[in-house]
C-alpha cells in the first residue's frame, strides 16, 4: 500500500535519529521508542504516559567528580518526539519555560524535535476532556513545536513552528507547509477565563473540606505526579560509584515525605491535606502566577493512574461550586 505523506515523514525521522511516538499494544496506548514504522499509533488517542521522560529524563547525570576533577556531562542525541497531541505540546511548552536557563535541558532541546499531531480540532475536543481551556482557533501560535501535522479528511497538513522545524521538513522533502510564528504564552485576547477561574477557586480553598475528604482516601503513592506531563519536581543528589561521585537529577514527588524534609528531619508538608493542597496550589496558582500559563493541561492521566479514583476535574468543579458567590 502506498505510504501517506505523514508516513513518509515518519520513515525519514527513523533514518535520522531516535523516534518516540504513541504505540498500541494489547489495547493500551503508550509513548515508546519506535523501531519500525508499523509500530506507530496514528489514532490520536491519549497515551497512558506522556513525552516527559524524553524531555526530562527520570534520572540524569549532571556532573562527575573523578580524581579531584569536576566534569560536566551532556547527552544530546538527535531525538524526535513524534505525534504529540496538543495537550502534551502545552506541557512541553511549560517545561521549556521552566527550564529556559537550564543548560542541560537546553542542550538536549537543541537536538530534540517536538512534532505535534492532531486528528482535527473538532475530533480532539471530543477526545479530550479539556477542562482547563477552550480550544482557540489560533492555538498553534501559543504552543512551542517544531513541526505540526494535522490530519484532514483527505490528507495531512504540515506546519512549521521553528527554523529547526523548517530545516527538518526541507530535509524530508516536504515543501508544502505553513509557518506558524510563536506569539507568546498568553493569547492576544488575554488570559484564559478558565485559568483565572481555577486559580481563584484553588487560592480560596485552603480551608475547604475537600482536602480533608481527599486526605481520607489518598495513598500518597505519587502516581499522579509521575504520570503528570507538567510535574517536574526533582532532587539533586550524589551517587557514589567505584571510581568517583556522580551528581544526578532525579524525579521526585511532593507526595513523598522526603520532599519537604528540612534541617533536623522535620517534615514541612506533614499531613496529606497539606500535600494535596500543595499539589493543586502549584498547578493552579503558582504556575499561572509565575508564567500566566497552565500548570495542568487536563490530560486526565492522573485520574486514570490514581488507585483510589481521585478526579482532578471533579475536584475543580467542587471548588467552583464552593466558591460561587464569594
Amino acid at each position: 500500500m502506498k505510504q501517506t505523506k505523514a508516513e513518509q515523514f515518519a520513515a525519514f525521522l527513523l533514518s535520522q535519529g531516535l523516534v518516540y511516538a504513541p504505540q498500541k499494544t494489547d489495547g493500551s496506548c503508550s509513548v515508546k521508542k519506535i523501531i519500525e514504522l508499523k509500530q506507530i499509533d496514528w489514532s490520536g488517542d491519549m497515551p497512558d504516559n506522556s513525552f516527559k521522560s524524553v524531555l526530562l529524563p527520570p534520572k540524569e547525570i549532571l556532573q562527575e567528580v573523578k580524581a579531584g576533577q569536576i566534569k560536566v556531562k551532556f547527552a544530546a542525541p538527535k531525538v524526535f518526539c513524534f505525534l504529540m497531541n496538543v495537550l502534551d505540546l502545552q506541557a512541553a511548552t511549560l517545561l521549556e519555560h521552566i527550564f529556559e536557563k537550564d543548560i542541560y535541558f537546553q542542550a538536549r532541546r537543541q537536538n530534540l524535535f517536538l512534532i505535534g499531531f492532531s486528528t482535527g480540532v473538532p475530533g480532539d475536543v471530543k477526545k479530550y476532556d479539556a477542562f482547563h481551556s477552550n480550544y482557540e482557533e489560533n492555538i498553534l501560535e501559543h504552543i512551542l513545536f517544531d513541526v505540526f501535522i494535522e490530519k484532514t479528511d483527505r490528507d495531512y497538513k504540515f506546519f512549521s513552528g521553528s527554523e529547526k522545524g523548517q530545516q527538518l521538513l526541507a530535509g524530508a522533502g516536504i515543501n508544502n507547509y505553513q509557518n506558524v510564528e510563536f506569539a507568546g504564552l498568553v493569547p492576544e485576547s488575554g488570559l484564559n477565563p478558565r485559568l483565572l477561574e481555577n486559580k481563584k477557586n484553588v487560592e480560596l480553598s485552603e480551608n475547604s473540606k475537600l482536602w480533608d475528604e481527599l486526605a481520607q482516601i489518598c495513598l500518597a503513592c505519587g502516581k499522579c505526579s509521575i504520570v503528570c506531563p507538567t510535574c517536574y519536581c526533582h532532587d539533586l543528589r550524589d551517587e557514589v560509584n567505584d571510581d568517583g561521585v556522580s551528581r544526578v537529577r532525579e524525579w521526585t514527588s511532593c507526595f513523598y515525605s522526603e520532599f519537604s524534609k528540612t534541617a533536623g528531619n522535620k517534615i514541612d508538608l506533614d499531613t496529606l491535606r497539606k500535600k494535596l493542597f500543595y499539589w493543586y496550589f502549584h498547578k493552579f496558582v503558582r504556575i499561572p502566577d509565575k508564567l500566566s500559563y497552565y500548570g495542568c493541561v487536563s490530560c486526565m492521566r492522573c485520574v486514570k493512574a490514581c488507585p483510589v479514583g481521585i478526579n482532578i476535574s471533579a475536584n475543580l468543579q467542587r471548588l467552583q461550586k464552593e466558591n460561587n458567590g464569594k
Binding site: L62, Q63, V65, D102, H234, D235, D238, G244, C254
Partner: protein, 267 residues
C-alpha cells in the same frame, strides 16, 4: 548560558571552631571567578558523596573576591562532615543565590536567633563603619556555650547598640542579659526610622513580628531570612516553594508584608 548547577571546588583557608557543633569555614575562591555577593545571599556548599546544603555567607561582601566565610551548624550527615574539615581541605560550592537583604539607607535593627547571626554578620561588617546610620543588634541564644562569634562582640559594642540575650544564665560578663530575645526587644527603645532584618529559627518569627508590630514598625520594613531544604538554588526543583514564591530564588529574604499571609508566619 551559565551552568548554575555546576559545582566548583573551594579550598578551606582556615577553620574557626565556634562551639562544639558549629564551625566557621573561611574559603579561598579562585580569583578569576570575580565572585561577588550581597549580604543575605547564600551559597550551596558540599562534599562529593554527601550532597550539598545552603549556607548564608557571613563575611564582608567587600572581601568576596579573595575569600568568603560560612558558618555550619551540625544538623545532619553532611554538616557533621563539614564540621570535621580542616585547613587545606576542599568543599564544593555553587552560587551565590537568592536576593539578599535590601540596600541599607536608614537605621538598622538586626535580630538573630542562634546561628541566624551568620548572614546578619555580613550586614554588620558591611555597614558598621558608616556614620550616617545607627545599628541596633539583638542576639538570642540558649547559653554562652552555644553562642557563636564570641570574639567579635566586644569590638561590635563600640560601634553598635548590642544586646545579647541568653536564655540560661552564663558566666560571661560583657553586655549579656538573661531571658529571651523577645524580652530584650520588648524592654529596649528601638531606633527610629529603621529597617529590621531577622534571621533565626522559624519558631521565633511570628513572636518577633508581633512585638515589632506592637512597637509600631510597619510590615514592609520587617525583613525575614527563611531557611528550607533546597536542591537547585534557582527556583526550579520546587522543594522550597512558599506560597507563590521560591525561597531560593525570590528569597531567602522576604518582607513581612508578604509573609503575614503565610500560615506559618501569621500572628
Amino acid at each position: 548560558m551559565e551552568n548554575n548547577l555546576k559545582q566548583k571546588f573551594a579550598k578551606i583557608v582556615s577553620v574557626v571552631k565556634e562551639t562544639v557543633s558549629v564551625s566557621t569555614l573561611i574559603l579561598g575562591l579562585p580569583e578569576q571567578d570575580n565572585f561577588a555577593f550581597r549580604a543575605g545571599q547564600f551559597v550551596m556548599i558540599g562534599i562529593p558523596g554527601f550532597g550539598e546544603c545552603p549556607l548564608g555567607i557571613s563575611s564582608n561582601p567587600a572581601d568576596a573576591q579573595k575569600q568568603i566565610s560560612v558558618t555550619v551548624r551540625q544538623a545532619g550527615e553532611l554538616t557533621e562532615k563539614l564540621n570535621q574539615l580542616k585547613k587545606g581541605d576542599c568543599v564544593t560550592f555553587r552560587g551565590p543565590f537568592g536576593n539578599g537583604f535590601p540596600e541599607v539607607a536608614s537605621n538598622l535593627i538586626l535580630i538573630a536567633g542562634g546561628c541566624g547571626i551568620a548572614p546578619l554578620m555580613a550586614v554588620i561588617l558591611e555597614n558598621q563603619k558608616r556614620k550616617d546610620i545607627k545599628i541596633q543588634i539583638f542576639i538570642g541564644c540558649k547559653d554562652a556555650a552555644t553562642l557563636i562569634y564570641k570574639e567579635k562582640y566586644k569590638q561590635l559594642q563600640k560601634t553598635c547598640d548590642l544586646s545579647v540575650a541568653l536564655e540560661q544564665k552564663s558566666l560571661l560578663k560583657f553586655g549579656f542579659i538573661s531571658g529571651s530575645v523577645i524580652n530584650a526587644i520588648a524592654k529596649k527603645k528601638l531606633v527610629a526610622d529603621a529597617k529590621v532584618f531577622i534571621c533565626g529559627p522559624e519558631a521565633m518569627y511570628s513572636s518577633v513580628a508581633k512585638i515589632l508590630l506592637e512597637k509600631g514598625i510597619a510590615p514592609k520594613d520587617i525583613y525575614m531570612s527563611l531557611e528550607k531544604r533546597m536542591h537547585c538554588g534557582v527556583g526550579v526543583c520546587e522543594h522550597c516553594a512558599i506560597g507563590t514564591k521560591y525561597i531560593c530564588k525570590d528569597g531567602p529574604v522576604f518582607d513581612y508584608e508578604f509573609l503575614k499571609n503565610i500560615d506559618k508566619y501569621k500572628i
